[in-house]
Subunit: 273 residues, 3 copies
């Protein structure tokens, strides 16, 4: 199934509008190109609305939000809704500041989201409407482990139903659920956390997968999650004793560029709950 | 001839002010350093005008333009004109939104440009004052091929004469013309399109070449175009079966760092029309 | 001593808030992760103040400052002061424009700085309250050499005492002083200047070292300086005849990722003055 979903990305070249932070934006663009999509970025409110209209999907990432870009996010999100384009929200740092939490909550309320992708602390903040986050990483106390997996799945399902969106929580085990079915994914490497923006790249990738497979957002998001993790595994095998997080970043994007639909199908490591 | 033009870049270390998008700005800076130039970026209107004055050339790229940076582009462009500094315009996404089209048209009208560099769709938009663009890539229908080359050359010449600028259209075949003579360049690799920002880097590079060779903007722009394409060819030869677009990006900048004036002279692949 | 200071960075994972330019921000984030720290970026004034509060240290870099981010820098700096968090200032381009010079001078006046890190031209501008800088690089006339080292040390000491901060001047020879003792550091490679943002990365790194070692800002800043230079040396050894400044950038961050406290201790090359 994942092979077909990925094949659609490669065939359709989905054009993805990213309103995203300036820290990792270049990597998001190259990741989109690597998977077979095409990126465009705009953040002036007026421009963002028009650019949204020529794209197939929208990826909103609040990583370096400001008073100028927040209206762009809202307006672009609403325009995407009108056009029936899928919208992915990455609530970077929700829980770390009032502006981030409020903006994420507001986007959740005012924009119909296809997928919400974040770490467990960010998603908990969204679910509760408030929270605390250790910067842009998940709190250790929150982390999804084999021991608390059952509870985490239940939490994710309940939130997905309430949000009316696919919820994707990334960590050592990734959870992707539409409130009914849940993919528990065990692809990836812990070393991916030592690269800035692997989460941001994954959100952009998810937008490409969901845009190319509009009728199957759950499976498309899960496929993107597996693809990213698998590329992290493939890239890790390439590392020499001299390579560190900067080369690892390049190798992961390279791996996505080289990944075939068949290799994704074979390498995807998940169970349904 | 190209050897001498490149030698001038290496000797003079032209300081280039880039008002450019935040997606590819880091690559533009490293490309400028790789060719022998020196980058500086400012986008606050007041700061941009002053920074323009201490530089030798100005590169304006409208990729992530906004209401704050547009006045900076106009003011810096006018200041560069007063000082006789060459200005390069990269109308990223002109035709994709009203703000981009209008800003590009306004810059064309209010600022004397040395070189306008874009893909065929962007340049057509500028020439017509309106247009449609598939995001930041050229429309397939617009693309310059061996079949429509004659017509494209005529179009470019007419627009160059009207704009009073060197016009550089990049694609499978690059065209660089001052309205009289036209370089048709066949350097480069199609895989360069899978990297974000090769066009942006080329515009920054063009600014360095034109600034170091102020009396020969046509030849300088053509030399920059050949140099970029040649580095794409050299870098491609270095690619292994594991490398993808991220490593390719690094290898192209690396190739520019290593490129010698003699190698540019030898590797440049063009005909005059 | 440096081994212990670096070990503290690795153990404590200092969370560093960077208000920094968009040219080199991705490299700053990856450098922070490579050394064992954790980055977060915010530049909306309100958001920046709150994000500052959840971090351990603040790194202010004025590289692409604008009328929106300057208040964020001031407000975040004052909040960090209230909380007793160390603040590092990187006055990129001070002397190159009025806005940069005035902003740097104002930050120096209104915020208690732990470390000021810049090139000799930028630091002279700060010390004099005015100055001229060739873009973002030091003026040749200003450069610290073996011949003028004595005078440069005296200048740095006087300014450090007046500023009440550790002053770190980077160049062929790096100087780090608290006004009493001065580290003269001879790590590094001249080729590091061909990469955009090695200075920015160093400032972020310095913030991590000082935050993890709050009682020893002089030694911590000197350790960061040696670590960066040493990584430049290690990465240079890895360069092949095809590698240029883009791969060199990656290799330096990789080298920091792999650097051990013991290797820093052994490779640090400095004398006290």
């Amino acid at each position: 199934m994942f092979a077909e979903l990925f094949e659609n990305v490669r065939q359709k070249t989905p054009l993805i509008h990213c309103i995203t932070n300036y820290v990792t934006v270049n990597d998001c663009a190259n990741m989109l190109l690597a998977c077979g999509g095409s990126p465009i970025m705009a953040d002036d409110p007026e421009d963002a609305v028009e650019i949204t209209a020529i794209c197939g999907g929208l990826n909103i990432n609040i990583g370096t939000l400001n008073r100028r870009t927040i209206p762009a996010m809202l307006a672009a999100g609403k325009r995407a809704n009108e056009l029936g384009h899928p919208v992915v929200l990455d609530p970077v740092g929700a829980g770390a500041s009032t502006l981030r939490t409020e903006t994420a909550v507001r986007l959740l309320k005012e924009v119909k989201l296809a997928v919400i992708r974040g770490n467990i602390s960010e998603i908990k903040t969204l679910a509760l409407g408030s929270g605390t986050t250790k910067g842009v990483d998940a709190d250790v106390a929150d982390r999804v482990t084999e021991e608390n997996l059952g509870g985490a799945v239940t939490f994710a399902k309940v939130f997905a139903r309430r949000a009316g969106a696919v919820v994707a929580i990334t960590g050592a085990i990734d959870l992707v659920t539409d409130g009914e079915r849940t993919f528990c994914i065990r692809n990836g490497r812990p070393e991916m956390a030592s690269i800035t923006g692997t989460g941001c790249q994954l959100s952009a990738l998810t937008a490409a997968f969901v845009t190319a497979n509009p009728d199957r957002p759950l499976e498309a998001a899960a496929a993107a999650m597996c693809a990213m993790g698998l590329c992290g595994e493939i890239a890790y095998k390439r590392m020499t004793g001299l390579d560190g997080n900067s080369s690892y970043r390049n190798y992961i994007i390279d791996a996505m560029y080289r990944l075939t639909p068949a290799a994704l199908e074979e390498g995807a490591n998940y169970e349904m709950r």
